[in-house]
């Protein structure tokens, strides 16, 4: 069922034959992805597989050596990060990168940097507080003093302040207390379901990622080794051995 569902939906983000090189090293080697509108798609793989590099090249932080990235029909391969954000594609980076010296409120305000309508900004902020009430409680607190989980909530909140249509999350479970990981993943599902935001999720925790996604790609040393509906991949013996702990 999932399969046919995917085929019917047009993809909102397409990567065709993308390669990224750091000097002589190919971090990403000729990968192609399709992300259907409204889906949660996950990109899993071990350390150094090229997951983060892939996201960074989509958001414009890293220039691909070859290939084309299309977002909603627009070629964004050579656009600068701020132009890509303006198109509605936001990236919650690995390590969260909150503005550590600024307060939670200031971090959220910067997330709305491109938003011109104060009423809409207010509304978005209120919505983020319903998703993550913790952020409202800690509004005046310096972001650097938050726990890892709270910083992750803030990073997601900050990205949502940009009112994205497409959200990329890089390792949202990394270094976070298990209890908070569950909360954060529940919220990711809610963001996708209630706001219709398409999500590309990069995760090392393959269990979790396959549980909430409809489709998955497995990256291995810069290449896509396996891809398919998440339900199928959960049962895939190759994945079981490598990422799902037998």
């Amino acid at each position: 069922m999932v399969k046919t569902h995917l085929r019917l939906l047009p993809s909102v983000l397409t990567l065709s034959h993308l390669s990224v090189a750091y000097g002589p090293i190919h971090a990403v080697n000729d990968i192609s992805l399709e992300i259907p509108r409204g889906a949660i798609v996950t990109l899993i793989g071990g350390n150094g597989a090229g997951k983060t590099t892939t996201l960074q090249s989509i958001s414009g932080l890293v220039r691909p050596a070859a290939g084309v990235i299309r977002f909603d029909g627009t070629d964004i391969t050579r656009l600068a990060p701020h132009q890509i954000v303006a198109l509605g594609l936001c990236h919650v980076p690995e390590g969260r990168l909150v503005f550590a010296n600024l307060s939670v409120a200031e971090n959220l305000a910067l997330g709305a940097y491109l938003q011109r309508d104060p009423a809409l900004v207010e509304q978005t902020r209120d919505h983020i507080f319903t998703l993550f009430p913790r952020l409202k409680e800690r509004l005046k607190q310096t972001a650097g003093t938050l726990s890892g989980g709270e910083q992750q909530m803030l990073a997601i909140g900050r990205a949502l302040m940009g009112r994205p249509r497409f959200l990329m999350l890089d390792e949202p479970s990394l270094g976070i207390a298990p209890r908070l990981v569950t909360t954060i993943f529940e919220r990711i599902v809610e963001i996708n379901r209630d706001q219709g935001i398409t999500i590309l999720l990069v995760e090392q925790n393959a269990h979790l990622a396959l549980e909430i996604s409809s489709h998955a790609y497995v990256l291995e040393t810069g290449r896509i080794s396996i891809s398919g509906p998440s339900a199928d991949l959960r049962a895939d013996p190759r994945l079981k051995a490598a990422y799902l702990g037998g």
Binding site: A80, P81, P93, G95, L110, Y113
Partner: protein
């Protein structure tokens, strides 16, 4: 006591000029993490621009003086932005050392370029503002000192407002905290860098005119010493910190005038660098700076 107050005023006006220059070093460092060695020469070009502008406005008037200041600031803004656009920007992703060496090259280019165009003979800087001596009790304050302090105060307050009250100012602070995260919230890095160079260069231009008014002789190499001192001031206060640069500049200005007025006046330049060494040993991050570990 009078002597002390007199030196305090002298120190304040010298420190104010250092502050105008030091802010440029610290702002550029904050955003791009490199020392713009050509900054002192933008300051020098500011006094040359002021020198030529002064020929076209009535001398010794407030409006004429302000016009000269404004023209010098505008000229330096254009120069600073152009330097960034055409020399530093193409090297943005090159190793940090390349851009540093380029900055030194730019500095030499400006010095010898100005020498080529205008010669190396020192020129007398005209009195662009009205001049008089004010006597307050036993103190003698020149109107120039008042102007230096007043103009610097206005510019520093203005800068503070721009950085903390405007959208671009917020973008600047975001970039200095985390350039990557700043780009991911939709901040245009190039706009912020251009804006930073514009602000810093405008302040340097004002500093160039104010400096030239008080030490009324200008030449292509006049920026070297004040530039070094302002750089020291920025480090002293904690490079990357705006209040730090202002504080470091005032400390340096006071130290220099007090030593200059003592029996050890020959050592007044040594003071700046002596202070730098002491601060670096005791507080490597500077007075108001934060030691940050760069994550790679």
């Amino acid at each position: 006591m009078t002597e002390f107050l007199q030196q305090l005023i002298n120190g304040l006006s010298l420190g104010a000029i250092y502050a105008l220059l030091a802010l440029g070093y610290t702002m550029v460092y904050g955003v791009l993490r490199f020392i713009n060695f050509a900054h002192a020469d933008v300051f020098m070009v500011g006094s040359f621009a002021g020198y030529y502008a002064a020929r076209h406005v009535p001398a010794g008037t407030i409006w004429g003086g302000l016009a000269v200041l404004f023209i010098a600031m505008a000229a330096c803004t254009v120069l600073g932005v152009a330097i960034e656009r055409f020399t530093y920007r193409p090297l943005r992703n090159a190793p940090r050392l390349n851009i540093l060496i380029t900055a030194i090259g730019m500095s030499l280019l400006l010095e010898y370029g100005v020498q080529l165009l205008f010669g190396s003979t020192p020129r007398n800087f005209p009195a662009v503002f009205p001049t008089s001596q004010l006597h307050l009790g036993g103190l003698t304050v020149s109107s120039n000192q008042v102007i230096v302090i007043a103009v610097s105060a206005v510019l520093l307050v203005g800068l503070q407002l721009v950085v903390f009250r405007t959208r671009l100012g917020a973008a600047m602070r975001a970039v200095s905290l985390n350039p990557r995260a700043a780009q991911l919230v939709g901040i245009n890095l190039n706009t912020v860098v251009t804006f930073t160079f514009a602000l810093g260069s405008a302040l340097a231009g004002a500093g160039g005119v104010l400096y030239a008014m008080n030490y009324p002789s200008i030449d292509p190499f006049m920026g070297v010493m004040p530039g070094l001192k302002a750089f020291v001031a920025a480090i002293l206060g904690g490079i990357g910190s705006l209040p730090g640069a202002a504080l470091g500049a005032l400390i340096l200005g006071f130290a220099e005038t007090f030593v200059g007025g003592s029996a050890y006046s020959t050592y007044k330049d040594a003071i700046a660098f002596g202070l730098l060494i002491v601060i670096m040993l005791l507080r490597p991050a500077g007075l108001l700076g934060r030691l940050t570990v760069e994550k790679v």
